[in-house]
């Protein structure tokens, strides 16, 4: 059942077993999993079924660090940011969960293996058509598409599978609307999560609408699922009892904000062997209902040996380079052609050919190491509900930048060892990274998962440290970001949390 919060009489209070704040990928997934469970679920969404500029404006805020689009990088209506996501899916790698001694603050309290069964279920929720991500043989098209086997294993090919992309608000609206135990309040904004006087148990949620209505929800259990920025904001502004905000006894809420810095055109590559470029490198390839894209990533042995964090590179075909191509306007040789001629003279095994090779461009997304100074706090500015807006202080470090530059040098080495290509690195080595060329709209880390309450906000069950009945869902719980788009992991963690909630209620019953 859907209820418009603007029609709820002032002063109403609603009792429920479970309140889920936010109807995005995480919130909708958890609600669906609990459909028919006997647990009464109240799903709370700030927006309606469609985009509304006035509602969206509640997401506006300050950006005081590396410039960041705090308002447009997320969407505030039923379905959340899945209303504009691109559908790139892949699980985080095993190494992403590990404590890496060269990455301060790394190490999830759960492993990839523990998450694997939930990833398998998440691929169904996200409509990927397969859970077999690196089955190059299946995508070989009878041997025509081959993985580029760089010697040494430092640079490897990995595969993304595409969601259609699933618009959770559209795809699962009927499931949510018809579930007998789920009530969804639209156009309803939680203004505070209020605990009892001990500050350890959520007692009630205060809600307001943009039309001025106020009412309350009193849940036995509460899940905060409003996204990687808003989750931190909600905890910080829930400060009537706990003055620093809920779960913030160790000043970790809002810290460790991570993105995946994107760089457009950080490198170019020439290949002499045109047959080595499988169709799924430069473009998405469809195999029935499975959509595949190959990318370059870095092997875990390389990252351990060289103490690096990862980068993903996509490849874009630019043009064929032929021996007969014209010279440049100043009469000099185009250097990409010169590079191909040199490569064909040294390591290439290709014979003479009018077409010397191909020029490819790249794009990349890279891992940002956890940094406590990169953070979301509350602004002095207020939104239309009178609540402090978010202040984003995104920080990128010299080490983040240098890591990316060194990864590109490794790519160049891999091409050289392979022998049929060379790399041009356009991403400069600079002492500071004052400006991101791009980002992924991936908001991670602000309520990070740790086993030690002193170093994070939620535990391995996604329960807020020190709270008895408050959980967090979404990419804000990521301890480290990896390099992979977060939605599949968000959904996997949501499925895991839903199972946990079911277990609690079963044990309680």
């Amino acid at each position: 059942m859907f209820i418009d919060g603007r029609n709820v009489p002032d002063g109403t209070f609603i009792e429920t077993d479970l309140a889920i704040i936010g109807a995005g990928a995480a919130g909708i997934t958890i609600a669906r999993e609990l459909s028919g469970s006997g647990i009464s679920v109240t799903l709370i969404e700030s927006g309606g079924f469609d985009f509304d500029a006035e509602v969206q404006n509640l997401y506006d805020g300050e950006s005081v660090g590396v410039p960041y689009p705090i308002d447009t990088s997320r969407l505030r209506y039923f379905g959340g940011s899945t209303n504009h996501w691109g559908g790139w899916c892949r699980p985080l790698d095993e190494i992403d969960f590990e404590a890496r001694d060269w990455v301060p603050h790394s190490g999830w309290p759960i492993t990839r293996k523990q998450l694997d069964p939930f990833y398998a279920r998440a691929t169904e929720v996200c409509q990927l058509g397969s859970n077999d991500f690196d089955n190059a043989e299946a995508w070989s098209n009878d041997g025509k598409n081959r993985v580029m086997a760089f010697p040494g294993g430092d640079v490897v090919t990995r595969f993304f599978l595409y969601s259609p992309p699933t618009r959770f608000g559209q795809k699962y609206r009927n499931d949510i609307g018809t579930a007998p135990n789920i009530t969804t309040y639209l156009n309803s904004n939680v203004t505070e999560i209020v605990p009892d006087e001990t500050g350890r148990t959520v007692e009630r949620l205060t809600l307001a609408t943009l039309t001025g209505h106020k009412f309350e929800i009193r849940p036995k259990t509460c899940i905060l699922a409003t996204g990687g920025i808003e989750n931190a904001r909600m905890l910080l502004l829930s400060n009537t009892v706990a003055k620093a905000g809920l779960g913030n006894g160790h000043d970790n809420v809002g810290r460790f904000f991570m993105e995946h810095p994107h760089v457009d055109g950080p490198a170019q590559m020439v290949f002499t062997d045109t047959s080595s470029m499988a169709a799924w490198y430069p473009a998405r390839v469809d195999y029935g209902n499975i959509h595949v894209r190959g990318v370059f990533m870095y092997g875990p042995d390389y990252m351990r040996r060289e103490k690096r964090v990862g980068t993903i590179m996509t490849i874009h075909r630019k043009r064929v380079i032929a021996a007969g191509d014209p010279m440049l306007d100043d009469g000099t040789e185009p250097l990409e052609r010169a590079m191909l001629n040199v490569t064909r003279s040294t390591t290439s095994t290709r014979g003479a050919d009018e077409n010397l090779g191909l020029l490819f461009g790249t794009g990349c997304a890279t891992e940002q190491a956890p940094n406590p100074l990169s953070r979301v706090t509350l602004s002095d500015e207020k939104d239309a509900l009178g609540l402090p807006r978010s202040r984003m202080d995104w920080r990128l470090t010299f080490e983040d930048r240098e890591n990316l530059r060194l990864n590109f040098e490794t790519l160049a080495r891999a091409f050289g060892r392979w022998g049929e290509g060379r790399v041009k690195i356009l991403f400069a080595s600079k002492p500071v990274w004052e400006e991101a060329e791009g980002w992924g709209n991936h908001h991670m880390g602000t309520t990070r998962m740790t086993s030690d309450p002193r170093t994070g906000v939620v535990d391995a069950d996604c329960k807020v440290h020190g709270m008895s009945n408050l959980y967090v869902a979404g990419s804000s719980v990521f301890t480290t970001s990896g390099t992979i788009n977060p939605t599949l992991t968000v959904v996997a963690l949501a499925l895991r949390l839903a199972d946990h909630i079911k277990t609690i209620y079963e044990e309680g019953a």
């Binding site: 250097l335 040199v342 003279s345 040294t346 080495r413 356009l426 991403f427 080595s429 060329e437």
Partner: protein
């Protein structure tokens, strides 16, 4: 920021200190080879011819070599550069009797080894093996108008600071 469009900015920022050291070492060490290691001009010319003959398009390779010469303002000598490359390839099995096919094999193996050792040179942001870069410079010197590059100008003698 239109990162990929500002080629000149990249050029300015794109060479790390380490790589500048590498570039410098190539140029300066060419002049550091003791005279006793140099062969007669006639032999040197023949050696240069053989090495440049490994390139399927010397003019094309010279484009890269010329960019390097412009970037570094270095003035390596043709004979010195030939000897330097030959010395490097001799360590990988090159002999005076090596056939062209054998030379190609030795060169390919050595270039791969450069990449394994991270012994790379950056020219206009392209990442070349050190041996490849030297061949490009050799091509540029050998194709320079008569009198340019064939005689090494006076340069300070330095100790080779990078593994050959």
């Amino acid at each position: 920021m239109e990162h990929h469009d500002s080629e000149k900015d990249h050029h300015a920022d794109g060479i790390s200190r380490r790589q500048i050291l590498i570039l410098g070492a190539i140029g300066l060490t060419a002049a550091a080879i003791p005279a006793s290691l140099l062969t007669l001009n006639r032999d040197s010319d023949a050696l240069t011819q053989k090495l440049v003959g490994l390139l399927n398009n010397p003019e094309s390779a010279a484009a890269l070599g010329n960019r390097w010469l412009e970037e570094t303002k270095a003035h390596p000598s043709l004979a010195g550069m030939s000897q330097k490359i030959a010395k490097r390839l001799r360590a990988s099995g090159l002999t005076p009797e090596s056939s062209l096919a054998q030379m190609h094999e030795i060169l390919a193996a050595h270039v791969r080894k450069d990449f394994v050792k991270n012994d790379m040179v950056e020219i206009e942001n392209w990442q070349l093996s050190r041996t490849e870069a030297e061949l490009c410079i050799l091509a540029a010197l050998s194709l320079a108008p008569h009198g340019e590059g064939h005689e090494a100008p006076a340069e300070p003698e330095v100790t080779e600071s990078h593994p050959a």
